[in-house]
C-alpha cells in the first residue's frame, strides 16, 4: 500500500516536472521569438515627390552694382522638385533639383549704356576675357545714355541658376542613431559651386533628447564680371580715346560745379583714372561650416532646440560686379550732362557716374549664428512656433532675428499660418554709402545688404493635408498642398514679397 502511494507521488512529481519543463521551454521559445521579431517601422513608408515653386519680387533705391544708389528691381521664379525614395526600412535617398531664373535691373547695369547703344548690341565687355577686341564696335556719333535708375538691357539683365543635391540618410534599427551625407552642385553665369557634407544624430532618454552634429563645405568659383567702364579701361590701357571710350564724351564737374567735357588726351592725373582697379586675383571662394543642434522635449506639449553654427569663409568674398565711388576723387560721367545735377534722384534718366573701383572686402570671414526654437502645443487648434537667432561675425556685423508663427488648424485638413519676423543688423566695418569711401582705404563696399537696418516681415499661409491621400494623380496620392506669402520691408527702403507653393505626392 505504502509502495503504491510512493509510486503515485513519484508519478505526480514527474508530471509536475514535465509541465514545468514544458512551460519553461515554451516560455523561452516565446521569449526568443519576441526578441528576434522586433517590429521596425519604415523611416519613410513610400516614395514622396514635392513640386515647389516660388516667385520673388523686390525694389529699392540702393543698388550695389551702381555703387549704393539706383534701382534694385529684381524678379525671380524658382521651380523645384524634391524626390525622397526609401531604399529599404532604414535608408532614404533624396534628390533635389531646382532652376532659378531672375531678371535684375541692377545687375543689368553692369553695362548701363547698353540699352542706348553704347555697345551697339555687341559684347558687353564686362567679363575678364582677355581676347576681347571691341575697337570700333560703336558708331562715333551714337547717343550714349545710361542711368542707375533705369534698367539696361545688357547680357547680365537675366540669369539662370541651376542647382541640385543628392542626400542619403541611414537610421539604426532602434531609430536612435542617424547618419547622413550629401553632395550638391550649382552653377550660374558668374558663379559655380560644389558642396558636400554630413551629419550624425543621436537620440536618447526615450527619444526625448536629441543631439546632432554636422559639417559641410562649399568649394565655389567666380567667373568674374566687371563694370563695363572699369574692364574697358584696363583693356584700353588707360587710353580714353581707345576701345569702349572711342568717340565718347566724358564729362567732369569743376570746383565751381560747372560741367565740362574733359580733354581725353590731357593729363591723366586730371582725368578719370580708376587706379585702384585691378582684375581679381583669387577666383575661389570656399566656405566651411559646422552645426551643433540640441533638442529636448520639455513636456507633452512643449519642446525646444538650441543651435550653434560656426562658419569660416575664405577667398574672394566681395562681388566683382559691385561699384564703389570715392569721395576724394573727382566725379566723371558718360551720358546726358543735363542730368548730372540730378544724378542721385530718379529724375536722372540719362547719365552714369564712372566707377572708381569694385568693392573690396577681406579674404576671410568668420560667422557665428546661435539661437533657439521653442514650440508649444496650446490645443488641437493652436500651436505657437518661435525662433530667435543672434549672429555676429568678424566684419563687425551683429544681428538679432526673432520669428513667431501661429499655425491655426481649421477642420481636419486645413491649417493657416500667420507669421511675423523682426530682423536688425549693424553695418559691416567696411560699409559706406554712395561716394563716401576714401581711395586710401584697404576695404570698402556700398552694398546696402551690409549696411545698418531693421526689417519686418509679415507672412500668411494656408496648408491642406490629407494623411489618407484620397485624391490621386496617376499612381500618386496628394498628401499636402502648401501656399505661403511673405511681405518684407527694410528700414532703408527695400521692399520685397515672395509667394511660394508646393504639392507633395505620395506613391500608392
Amino acid at each position: 500500500m505504502v509502495e503504491k502511494q510512493v509510486e503515485a507521488v513519484a508519478v505526480i512529481n514527474m508530471k509536475k516536472i514535465g509541465i514545468i519543463i514544458a512551460f519553461i521551454v515554451t516560455s523561452v521559445s516565446f521569449a526568443q521569438q519576441d526578441s528576434t521579431t522586433v517590429y521596425k517601422k519604415r523611416v519613410l513608408e513610400s516614395t514622396e515627390i514635392d513640386f515647389l515653386l516660388s516667385y520673388y519680387s523686390q525694389d529699392g533705391d540702393n543698388a550695389s552694382v551702381t555703387g549704393g544708389i539706383g534701382t534694385e528691381e529684381l524678379t525671380d521664379i524658382t521651380p523645384t522638385i524634391v524626390v525622397s525614395y526609401p531604399l529599404n526600412d532604414d535608408d532614404i535617398l533624396t534628390v533635389d533639383f531646382g532652376i532659378s531664373s531672375y531678371t535684375s535691373a541692377s545687375s543689368s547695369n553692369l553695362n548701363p549704356w547698353d540699352s542706348s547703344g553704347a555697345s551697339n548690341g555687341e559684347d558687353d565687355d564686362d567679363d575678364d576675357d582677355e581676347d576681347d577686341d571691341d575697337d570700333g564696335f560703336r558708331n562715333a556719333d551714337s547717343v550714349i545714355e545710361g542711368s542707375p535708375w533705369v534698367a539696361s538691357s545688357g547680357a547680365s539683365e537675366q540669369d539662370v541658376w541651376v542647382g541640385g543635391s543628392v542626400s542619403y540618410s541611414h537610421s539604426s534599427d532602434d531609430r536612435n542613431f542617424i547618419w547622413s551625407g550629401h553632395v550638391s552642385f550649382s552653377t550660374e553665369y558668374d558663379y559655380t559651386s560644389i558642396g558636400f557634407g554630413g551629419a550624425v544624430t543621436k537620440l536618447f532618454n526615450e527619444k526625448n533628447t536629441e543631439i546632432s552634429i554636422g559639417a559641410q563645405a562649399y568649394i565655389d568659383t567666380w567667373n568674374p564680371q566687371y563694370p563695363t567702364e572699369l574692364d574697358s579701361y584696363l583693356e584700353a590701357e588707360g587710353d580714353l580715346n581707345d576701345g569702349f571710350f572711342s568717340g565718347v564724351t566724358i564729362w567732369g564737374v569743376n570746383d565751381a560745379d560747372e560741367i565740362y567735357a574733359i580733354d581725353k588726351s590731357g593729363d591723366p592725373l586730371t582725368n578719370w583714372a580708376p587706379e585702384n582697379f585691378s582684375l581679381i586675383s583669387d577666383k575661389g571662394r570656399n566656405s566651411y561650416s559646422t552645426t551643433i543642434n540640441f533638442s529636448q522635449i520639455l513636456s507633452k506639449k512643449a519642446q525646444f532646440s538650441l543651435f550653434l553654427d560656426v562658419v569660416y569663409q575664405q577667398g574672394w568674398l566681395a562681388n566683382p560686379m559691385q561699384r564703389v565711388y570715392f569721395a576724394d576723387k573727382n566725379n566723371y560721367y558718360i551720358g546726358n550732362p543735363d542730368d548730372i545735377p540730378v544724378y542721385e534722384t530718379k529724375e536722372n534718366m540719362g547719365v552714369f557716374h564712372l566707377a572708381d573701383d569694385i568693392e573690396r572686402l577681406p579674404d576671410t570671414r568668420f560667422k557665428t549664428p546661435i539661437g533657439f526654437r521653442f514650440n508649444y502645443f496650446i490645443n488641437e487648434f493652436l500651436i505657437i512656433r518661435t525662433y530667435y537667432r543672434y549672429y555676429f561675425d568678424d566684419w563687425g556685423v551683429n544681428s538679432h532675428t526673432a520669428n513667431i508663427e501661429i499655425p491655426i488648424k481649421i477642420g481636419g485638413k486645413f491649417t493657416i499660418y500667420p507669421s511675423y519676423r523682426y530682423y536688425t543688423q549693424t553695418a559691416a566695418d567696411y560699409f559706406a554709402p554712395y561716394n563716401e569711401h576714401l581711395s586710401t582705404s584697404e576695404f570698402y563696399t556700398s552694398d546696402y545688404d551690409l549696411s545698418e537696418f531693421d526689417a519686418n516681415q509679415y507672412g500668411f499661409g494656408v496648408s491642406y493635408t490629407d494623411i489618407f491621400t484620397k485624391a490621386h494623380v496617376w499612381k500618386f496620392g496628394i498628401k499636402n498642398i502648401d501656399l505661403r506669402f511673405h511681405q518684407y520691408d527694410r528700414s532703408n527702403g527695400l521692399s520685397a514679397w515672395i509667394i511660394s507653393g508646393g504639392i507633395k505626392f505620395v506613391m500608392q
Binding site: 565655389d220 529636448q296 566684419w395
Partner: protein, 69 residues
C-alpha cells in the same frame, strides 16, 4: 553670451526631470511642432540670405553655394 549659457544650463537641467513616453507624444509629433523650418519656406530663407548680412542657424545656406552674403 554668459546669460545665454546660463539659460541653456537652466533649461537643460529642468528638462532632464521629465521623460515623455512614446505613447504620450501625440501632440509633440504634430507636424507643426517640428523644430525646423517648413520645406515650403526654403525660398523665403534663401532670399533672406541674399538680402541680409546674417545667415545660418536655420538649415539654410550659410554663405557658400551662392554669391550671396
Amino acid at each position: 553670451m554668459k546669460k545665454f549659457g546660463l539659460l541653456v544650463i537652466a533649461i537643460v537641467s529642468l528638462s532632464s526631470c521629465v521623460t515623455v513616453k512614446e505613447y504620450e507624444k501625440v501632440n509633440i509629433n504634430d507636424p507643426d511642432m517640428k523644430l525646423s523650418d517648413y520645406s515650403i519656406d526654403r525660398f523665403k530663407t534663401n532670399a533672406l540670405v541674399y538680402r541680409e548680412a546674417a545667415s545660418g542657424g536655420n538649415g539654410g545656406k550659410t554663405g557658400g553655394g551662392c554669391g550671396c552674403n
